[in-house]
Symmetry: C2
Subunit: 330 residues, 2 copies
């Protein structure tokens, strides 16, 4: 490995001049430039980023903290983030937590350590104090999930209203016995809001609440099928399912069809997120489109603002529109 000093020696110039050539930060005569570039090539010189970063106290990297990347839903957000980041000369590092607090802490440390300039939290599971503390000293933005009452800004969706619309749609189509099946943790704000809407709409119409939510962490397809099976055994009157994710809806549909019941003729099913699963399923699943790409873009734009001027202590809650997409399953 060669250093800027070696390049300088070989080219018979000072390290400052080499730096100028590399960064095109000041005028260098054509002759000198060529000598330096030749030396760089000869030594196969690569600037050591740690030197630069230490000196500038800036890495032009941002960290995206996400539960996991196996949900196609997240990948659109990340694409939005990356789009804006790259146009502004930032690189994006994706780190997965799988809900593990240790891993989360480790990655948060990368922010505190100045390994990255800022952080976007998708599917945030930090505690209130922690996120507030972090938000005071570092540029962070939440998206999709957020900690209610925290000072950190976020871009998200009105999950309550979206779920409200879905529920009203089911009821308008004549459904009266609607069960609810969540995905992931019941503690995340999206699920809290979805369940709140579920109950509110039922109460509003004087209909029965058929599902309690436990604290269990439900995965997609498998638990959709399993929970539907239990519910259908216990409550054969069910004529609709509200699933909080598309993949869970697919599991529910499979369970229904394995009992020789028809979707939507016998039982309606709605999902959430408008992922590929809701299109691939038979029948295609009524769902909610969240404009995830846009959410990613907006979150990154806000993060940039906070990085460039840290005094921008934006604590605002931003909500982007959604669309209920009616397909064949309801």
């Amino acid at each position: 490995m060669s250093t800027i000093q070696q390049v300088a020696s070989l080219a018979r110039v000072s390290v400052a001049t080499v730096s100028r050539v590399i960064n095109q930060s000041a005028n260098v005569s054509e002759a000198t430039r060529q000598r330096v570039e030749l030396a760089i090539q000869r030594l196969n010189y690569q600037p050591n980023a740690m030197g630069t970063f230490l000196r500038k106290d800036k890495t032009n990297m941002i960290l995206v903290l996400v539960h996991s990347v196996d949900n196609p839903f997240f990948s659109m957000i990340i694409q939005g983030i990356e789009n804006i980041a790259h146009h502004n000369n930032y690189n994006v590092l994706i780190c997965t937590t799988y809900g593990d607090r240790e891993r989360e802490k480790h990655y948060v440390k990368m922010l505190r350590n100045h390994y990255v300039d800022g952080m976007i939290l998708i599917s945030n599971t930090l505690q209130l104090e922690e996120i507030n503390d972090l938000n005071q000293s570092y540029p962070i933005v939440q998206t999709i999930e957020y900690v209610p009452g925290s000072n950190a800004p976020y871009y998200s969706v009105d999950f309550y209203m979206a779920s409200f619309e879905l529920m009203e749609h089911l009821i308008a189509s004549g459904r009266r016995n609607i069960a609810y099946v969540h995905t992931g943790s019941t503690q995340i704000v999206s699920n809290i809001e979805k369940y709140r809407a579920y109950k509110d709409v039922l109460n509003k119409h004087g209909l029965p609440v058929l599902s309690e939510v436990s604290e269990e962490y439900y995965f997609g397809y498998i638990s959709g099928k399993a929970v539907a099976s239990v519910l259908l055994d216990e409550k054969p009157e069910i004529d609709a399912f509200f699933a909080t994710s598309d993949l869970t809806a697919v599991g529910i549909i499979d369970e229904i069809q394995s009992r020789n019941l028809r979707v939507p003729e016998d039982i309606s099913v709605v999902g959430f997120d408008n992922t590929i699963f809701s299109s691939v399923a038979q029948p295609a699943i009524t769902t909610v489109e969240l404009n995830t790409y846009e959410l990613g873009c907006k979150a990154m734009e806000l993060l940039l603002k906070r990085i460039e001027k840290p005094e921008t202590l934006d604590t605002t809650a931003h909500t982007l529109p959604f669309q209920v997409i009616k397909k064949e399953s309801s």
Copy 2:
């Protein structure tokens, strides 16, 4: 932001002692230790990683370069990588290229820059010279895809043999007119091997090759459906499809069923990768399990070896076993 110097001043010790406390690198008297830790707390001190990294020329970070993260197939590899990495005190950064050469270059630069200690290439699309050059100076490992003839080590699967088995299975079940539909680029080694096996098995049995491969980049579900539609129009004798990914197989099945043909009674379909799609599909799709988690673990273990002792110039090709998983679609 506070520095080690400020902590030292407040605790009335030298920076060396503070460093010793932080890293538990040498004996420090209990009294001093407590003074230092109090100072650290008081100043809310966080070591600046850039200082450390510059000094040590080591970041304990590795980079995973991947086409995109929206394929559940990749996420298992990444989990394997992360598992081994974390047990060895390394962090994993996931970077997505979406096939963009510019982005790829940018991330490769992070390796050359010493921003990370090593790199794992999934779905590698680097040129032969580039990967060989990189391999000389930096610890890298390829997995799944690899550049044939390159010096860089890899962990992958014998796609030829796996495809061979799938094809023999189709033929053994009485199929004679088998079409082939690829996913992604035709230039990647996995697709080259799959297509080679497809043709070889057909030739071996004196059966017709029904599909040419163009250089087109095919995506999953959408192009599966579209290509199947064209093929079925042109060649109504087709009685089986060999798709190189599960999601493409789902698209093909949807097209078949939309023509009121049955899978597998009229037409068999097989996929690849044993992702969730092959279980969710109706009927469930015969596919190949690649032990992706294991591949990730092995690749990371090899990378670690190369990082710790760079003289380990392992150029070996490693191949892990696969299993053909027979389901309902064939």
